[in-house]
Amino acid sequence: MNKSSKGARKEGETLLMVGTKKGAFLFRSKDGRRTWKASGPFFKGIQVFHMTYDRRTGALLAAVNSYQWGPTVAISHDMGKTWKNCTNPPRFPKESGLSVQQVWHVEPGLEDRPDEIYLGVEPACLFVSHDSGESWDVDASMMNHSTRSKWSPGNGGLCLHTILSDRRDHDKLHVGISAVGTLYTENNGGSWDFQNKHVLADFFPEAEKYPEYGQCVHKIVRRSDRPNTLFQQNHCGVFRSDDNGRDWKNITNNLPSRFGFPIAIDSGPSPRVYVAPLEGDFARIPKDGRFSVWASDNSGKEWFPLNRGIPKVSYYDVLREGLKSDGLDPSGIYFGTTTGQLYSSRNRGESWSSVSDALPPVFSVEASAA
């Protein structure tokens, strides 16, 4: 594979990668996130569920789902000018009876394994590439999990949408599956255990509201300075774990709704957590027709709205991959909507500006700062 630096990212540049229903777009800022230069659509007319940047190789990675030609992972080494589909796309073995329907989330591995990339697919499973995305191996332990036959899809499908690595140990990994819950491995996918203790699933009968699995997790993030602290937006509320996922506490508290899809966290010693509540369970629109990102500076004890710069009438929906931070100080925070708006904030959400108002429906946003 050509790994030339042609079109490479510039020092100090911030990247905003947007996956949409009709292709992917790249926004680049070289002036401290004040202005953005757009390129795309890449994969014109084709669904891109997720696009991200691999800092280790300088490559863009895209999870591409064509109605006609099925799912694949595509790689660009020149910031989207050219793309190459992987040679051996993720496939289940024939004896499994399964076929990859969609590719949902692509996640570069850690620095000490520079060629390793993870991929979450539907039906829910983890795939791993050991050659920078050219070929993909199924995680056999997850594929053959003893409970798999009882896994039920959420509204979006039986998808593995979250992959959280742990910088302390590359063999430890959390994943999130709708509507199965959080699973955890300590042996690089050799075995998987559920981590859903005290996570509510009240769409089950009374006696089954805290099952071992079956929770509808929507997205999970990790606190970088205290890596044992995880946050998750769930169908049934927002939850925090302070022991690396072994136990969870409901921190929905004063949010206007327990329901929402994305959750994001910025970095630094006092990270801010961000969610995008929607009226749940069935309306799935912002309360009173006004969209706000809600944030907490005290790990979910209290939440407050951040909506300066967002229209007062804003029936926006933001999907599970649609709200991300860039890790800078002060943190940039970004969201994309299913009606094609893309917003950015350079001050941790205190004020928002429009990056684009006319994209196709946004599935995912990813931000990466140099």
Binding site: S66, Y67, Q68, W69, G70, T72, W83, K84, N85, C86, T87, N88, P89, R91, F92, P93, K94, S96, G97, L98, S99, V100
Partner: protein
């Protein structure tokens, strides 16, 4: 048979692949390959020439993707024996995306 296309000999089959897959085929989306008898052997022959291409028209279980059509001498294989269609003696195989109106 497409006008102007030389008929394949009995030991070869002419394969026409949608230009949507030109990333794999380049400009060579019409090729002659050694005759094949099954869809599986067609997929292998095409993968040998264009690595990874078969996954775009067959799923992991070897089924033709829902919105892809494969025509054997002008007949949709779904109207024949599907994935079990005998391709022996076929002169032309065409792989195209389906188009739905509305």
């Amino acid at each position: 048979m497409k006008a102007g296309t030389a008929p394949a000999s009995s030991s070869t089959v002419h394969v026409v692949i949608s230009m949507h897959l030109k990333e794999y085929t380049g400009s060579g989306n019409e090729i002659d390959i050694d005759a094949v008898s099954t869809l599986e052997s067609l997929a292998k022959a095409l993968d040998d020439r264009f690595p990874g291409i078969s996954h775009r028209f067959l799923d992991d279980q070897g089924n033709v993707r829902r919105y892809v059509n494969i025509f054997v001498d002008g007949e949709d294989i779904r109207e024949k024996q599907g994935t079990h269609t005998d391709l022996s003696g076929a002169r032309e195989i065409v792989i195209l995306p389906s188009v739905a109106g509305g």
